[in-house]
Protein backbone atom coordinates (compact mmCIF):
# COMPACT_ATOMS: atom_id res chain seq x y z
CA UNK A 1 0.00 0.00 0.00
CA UNK A 2 1.39 3.35 -1.01
CA UNK A 3 -0.70 5.88 0.89
CA UNK A 4 -2.11 3.67 3.65
CA UNK A 5 -0.02 1.90 6.24
CA UNK A 6 -0.60 -0.32 9.23
CA UNK A 7 2.81 0.60 10.64
CA UNK A 8 3.35 3.60 12.92
CA UNK A 9 4.07 6.87 11.12
CA UNK A 10 7.03 8.31 13.00
CA UNK A 11 8.08 11.92 13.49
CA UNK A 12 11.37 10.92 11.84
CA UNK A 13 9.41 10.39 8.65
CA UNK A 14 8.22 14.02 8.73
CA UNK A 15 11.78 15.25 9.26
CA UNK A 16 13.08 13.01 6.49
CA UNK A 17 10.55 14.34 3.98
CA UNK A 18 11.40 17.91 5.01
CA UNK A 19 15.10 17.37 4.42
CA UNK A 20 14.32 15.71 1.09
CA UNK A 21 12.25 18.72 -0.02
CA UNK A 22 15.02 21.10 1.04
CA UNK A 23 17.61 19.10 -0.87
CA UNK A 24 15.47 19.48 -4.00
CA UNK A 25 15.60 23.24 -3.69
CA UNK A 26 12.01 23.78 -2.56
CA UNK A 27 11.38 27.18 -1.03
CA UNK A 28 8.29 26.15 0.95
CA UNK A 29 7.33 23.04 2.86
CA UNK A 30 3.91 22.63 4.46
CA UNK A 31 3.46 19.63 6.72
CA UNK A 32 0.10 18.65 8.11
CA UNK A 33 0.24 16.08 10.89
CA UNK A 34 -2.99 14.62 12.24
CA UNK A 35 -2.63 13.47 15.86
CA UNK A 36 -5.03 11.30 17.84
CA UNK A 37 -6.63 13.28 20.68
CA UNK A 38 -7.35 11.69 24.02
CA UNK A 39 -10.76 13.37 24.28
CA UNK A 40 -13.02 12.88 27.26
CA UNK A 41 -16.59 11.80 26.60
CA UNK A 42 -18.41 11.93 29.88
CA UNK A 43 -16.50 9.73 32.32
CA UNK A 44 -14.47 7.86 29.73
CA UNK A 45 -11.44 8.95 27.77
CA UNK A 46 -10.33 8.01 24.28
CA UNK A 47 -7.18 5.93 24.61
CA UNK A 48 -6.82 5.15 20.90
CA UNK A 49 -8.51 5.30 17.52
CA UNK A 50 -8.91 2.26 15.32
CA UNK A 51 -8.90 3.03 11.58
CA UNK A 52 -10.69 0.79 9.09
CA UNK A 53 -10.67 1.36 5.33
CA UNK A 54 -11.88 0.06 2.01
CA UNK A 55 -8.18 -0.12 1.27
CA UNK A 56 -8.18 -0.71 -2.49
CA UNK A 57 -10.60 2.15 -3.12
CA UNK A 58 -8.94 4.44 -0.58
CA UNK A 59 -5.54 3.96 -2.25
CA UNK A 60 -6.99 4.84 -5.65
CA UNK A 61 -8.79 7.87 -4.29
CA UNK A 62 -5.76 9.29 -2.52
CA UNK A 63 -3.69 8.68 -5.64
CA UNK A 64 -6.26 10.63 -7.64
CA UNK A 65 -6.34 13.50 -5.14
CA UNK A 66 -2.55 13.78 -5.23
CA UNK A 67 -2.70 13.87 -9.03
CA UNK A 68 -5.40 16.57 -8.88
CA UNK A 69 -3.27 18.63 -6.50
CA UNK A 70 -0.25 18.28 -8.78
CA UNK A 71 -2.35 19.33 -11.79
CA UNK A 72 -3.73 22.37 -9.99
CA UNK A 73 -0.57 23.68 -8.32
CA UNK A 74 3.09 23.55 -9.20
CA UNK A 75 4.39 21.14 -6.56
CA UNK A 76 7.79 19.60 -6.06
CA UNK A 77 6.47 17.02 -3.60
CA UNK A 78 3.07 15.77 -2.44
CA UNK A 79 3.04 12.85 -0.04
CA UNK A 80 0.18 11.37 1.96
CA UNK A 81 0.43 8.63 4.56
CA UNK A 82 -2.66 7.54 6.48
CA UNK A 83 -2.61 5.02 9.28
CA UNK A 84 -4.87 1.98 9.48
CA UNK A 85 -5.35 -0.11 12.59
CA UNK A 86 -4.89 1.08 16.15
CA UNK A 87 -3.28 4.47 16.87
CA UNK A 88 -2.81 5.41 20.53
CA UNK A 89 -3.64 8.95 21.73
CA UNK A 90 -0.70 11.18 20.84
CA UNK A 91 0.17 9.04 17.84
CA UNK A 92 0.17 10.21 14.24
CA UNK A 93 -2.93 9.27 12.20
CA UNK A 94 -2.07 11.03 8.95
CA UNK A 95 0.63 13.17 7.38
CA UNK A 96 0.30 15.37 4.31
CA UNK A 97 3.63 16.79 3.18
CA UNK A 98 3.63 19.28 0.33
CA UNK A 99 6.61 21.17 -1.04
CA UNK A 100 6.69 23.88 -3.67
CA UNK A 101 8.73 26.84 -4.77
CA UNK A 102 6.49 29.26 -2.88
CA UNK A 103 4.26 29.06 0.18
CA UNK A 104 0.93 29.96 -1.43
CA UNK A 105 0.90 26.81 -3.52
CA UNK A 106 2.09 24.63 -0.68
CA UNK A 107 -0.56 25.92 1.75
CA UNK A 108 -3.35 25.60 -0.81
CA UNK A 109 -2.42 22.09 -1.87
CA UNK A 110 -2.02 20.93 1.73
CA UNK A 111 -5.47 22.23 2.67
CA UNK A 112 -7.01 20.72 -0.46
CA UNK A 113 -5.53 17.29 0.23
CA UNK A 114 -6.46 16.95 3.90
CA UNK A 115 -9.95 18.39 3.35
CA UNK A 116 -10.73 16.05 0.47
CA UNK A 117 -9.24 13.05 2.27
CA UNK A 118 -11.56 13.68 5.21
CA UNK A 119 -14.58 14.20 2.94
CA UNK A 120 -14.23 11.42 0.40
CA UNK A 121 -11.73 8.70 1.11
CA UNK A 122 -13.36 5.53 2.51
CA UNK A 123 -11.64 5.43 5.90
CA UNK A 124 -13.48 5.13 9.20
CA UNK A 125 -12.45 5.57 12.80
CA UNK A 126 -13.62 3.78 15.92
CA UNK A 127 -12.97 5.37 19.30
CA UNK A 128 -11.46 3.01 21.85
CA UNK A 129 -12.13 4.16 25.41
CA UNK A 130 -10.14 3.57 28.57
CA UNK A 131 -13.04 1.62 30.12
CA UNK A 132 -12.76 -1.03 27.40
CA UNK A 133 -15.73 0.15 25.32
CA UNK A 134 -15.50 1.25 21.71
CA UNK A 135 -17.66 3.20 19.32
CA UNK A 136 -17.56 4.09 15.64
CA UNK A 137 -17.61 7.83 15.03
CA UNK A 138 -20.45 9.77 13.38
CA UNK A 139 -23.43 9.11 15.60
CA UNK A 140 -25.37 6.81 13.31
CA UNK A 141 -23.91 3.85 15.13
CA UNK A 142 -25.09 5.28 18.44
CA UNK A 143 -28.64 4.92 17.19
CA UNK A 144 -27.78 1.46 15.93
CA UNK A 145 -26.38 0.51 19.32
CA UNK A 146 -29.50 1.69 21.09
CA UNK A 147 -31.66 -0.26 18.65
CA UNK A 148 -29.73 -3.43 19.42
CA UNK A 149 -29.64 -4.03 23.18
CA UNK A 150 -27.17 -6.90 22.79
CA UNK A 151 -24.48 -4.26 22.30
CA UNK A 152 -23.02 -6.18 19.39
CA UNK A 153 -21.95 -2.91 17.81
CA UNK A 154 -19.53 -2.39 20.69
CA UNK A 155 -18.27 -5.94 20.66
CA UNK A 156 -15.01 -5.42 18.80
CA UNK A 157 -12.72 -3.83 21.34
Amino acid sequence: MKHLTTKPVLWDRVAYLGRLAASHGCGALVTFVGIVRGDWQGSRQVRALFYDAYAEMAERQVERLVAEARAQWSLEMATVQHRLGLVEAGGISVIVVVAAQHRAEAYAASQFLIDRIKQEVPIWKRQQYDDGTAQWTMGIQEVLAVAEPSGAVHAHV
Binding site: Y54, K125, M138, Q141
Partner: protein, 81 residues
Protein backbone atom coordinates in the same frame (compact mmCIF):
# COMPACT_ATOMS: atom_id res chain seq x y z
CA UNK B 1 -26.39 -12.29 -12.06
CA UNK B 2 -24.27 -12.39 -8.93
CA UNK B 3 -22.54 -9.42 -7.34
CA UNK B 4 -20.17 -9.25 -4.39
CA UNK B 5 -21.03 -6.82 -1.59
CA UNK B 6 -18.48 -5.57 0.92
CA UNK B 7 -19.15 -4.03 4.31
CA UNK B 8 -16.97 -1.76 6.41
CA UNK B 9 -16.89 -0.09 9.83
CA UNK B 10 -20.23 -0.28 11.68
CA UNK B 11 -21.95 -1.90 8.72
CA UNK B 12 -19.65 -4.87 9.23
CA UNK B 13 -20.75 -5.03 12.85
CA UNK B 14 -24.41 -4.62 11.92
CA UNK B 15 -24.36 -7.38 9.30
CA UNK B 16 -21.88 -9.59 11.15
CA UNK B 17 -19.91 -10.16 7.95
CA UNK B 18 -17.22 -8.55 5.81
CA UNK B 19 -18.86 -9.47 2.53
CA UNK B 20 -21.56 -11.48 0.86
CA UNK B 21 -22.78 -12.40 -2.60
CA UNK B 22 -26.27 -11.57 -3.78
CA UNK B 23 -28.23 -12.71 -6.84
CA UNK B 24 -30.14 -10.13 -8.82
CA UNK B 25 -32.25 -10.16 -11.96
CA UNK B 26 -30.67 -8.86 -15.17
CA UNK B 27 -31.02 -5.08 -15.39
CA UNK B 28 -30.95 -4.60 -11.63
CA UNK B 29 -29.55 -1.37 -10.20
CA UNK B 30 -27.77 -0.37 -7.03
CA UNK B 31 -31.16 0.47 -5.53
CA UNK B 32 -32.34 -3.11 -6.10
CA UNK B 33 -29.22 -4.40 -4.38
CA UNK B 34 -29.85 -2.08 -1.44
CA UNK B 35 -33.43 -3.31 -1.06
CA UNK B 36 -32.30 -6.92 -1.13
CA UNK B 37 -29.61 -6.25 1.47
CA UNK B 38 -32.08 -4.57 3.81
CA UNK B 39 -34.37 -7.60 3.55
CA UNK B 40 -31.47 -9.95 4.26
CA UNK B 41 -29.92 -7.89 7.06
CA UNK B 42 -32.89 -6.33 8.77
CA UNK B 43 -30.71 -4.38 11.20
CA UNK B 44 -29.74 -2.19 8.23
CA UNK B 45 -33.30 -0.96 7.87
CA UNK B 46 -33.39 2.80 8.42
CA UNK B 47 -29.60 3.13 8.60
CA UNK B 48 -28.72 3.38 4.94
CA UNK B 49 -30.04 6.90 4.28
CA UNK B 50 -26.57 8.44 4.52
CA UNK B 51 -24.73 5.47 3.07
CA UNK B 52 -23.21 5.87 -0.39
CA UNK B 53 -22.69 3.23 -3.04
CA UNK B 54 -19.34 2.30 -4.54
CA UNK B 55 -19.29 0.11 -7.64
CA UNK B 56 -15.96 -1.45 -8.54
CA UNK B 57 -14.24 1.03 -6.21
CA UNK B 58 -15.86 4.18 -7.59
CA UNK B 59 -18.70 6.22 -6.07
CA UNK B 60 -21.92 5.86 -8.07
CA UNK B 61 -25.57 6.80 -7.72
CA UNK B 62 -28.03 4.15 -6.55
CA UNK B 63 -29.47 4.07 -10.08
CA UNK B 64 -26.31 2.62 -11.59
CA UNK B 65 -26.91 -0.61 -13.56
CA UNK B 66 -25.13 -3.68 -12.20
CA UNK B 67 -23.40 -6.52 -14.00
CA UNK B 68 -22.41 -10.05 -13.16
CA UNK B 69 -19.25 -10.14 -11.04
CA UNK B 70 -19.44 -6.49 -9.94
CA UNK B 71 -18.06 -5.49 -6.56
CA UNK B 72 -20.40 -3.29 -4.55
CA UNK B 73 -19.57 -1.59 -1.30
CA UNK B 74 -21.82 0.29 1.08
CA UNK B 75 -19.89 3.35 2.19
CA UNK B 76 -20.99 4.92 5.50
CA UNK B 77 -20.09 8.59 6.09
CA UNK B 78 -16.30 8.58 6.10
CA UNK B 79 -14.24 9.75 9.07
CA UNK B 80 -10.59 9.53 8.11
CA UNK B 81 -7.94 12.01 9.16
Amino acid sequence: MNVRVRFFAWLRDATGTEECWISLAPGATGRDAKALLVSRYQRLSGFLDRVRLALNQEYQTWEVPLHDGDELALIPPVSGG
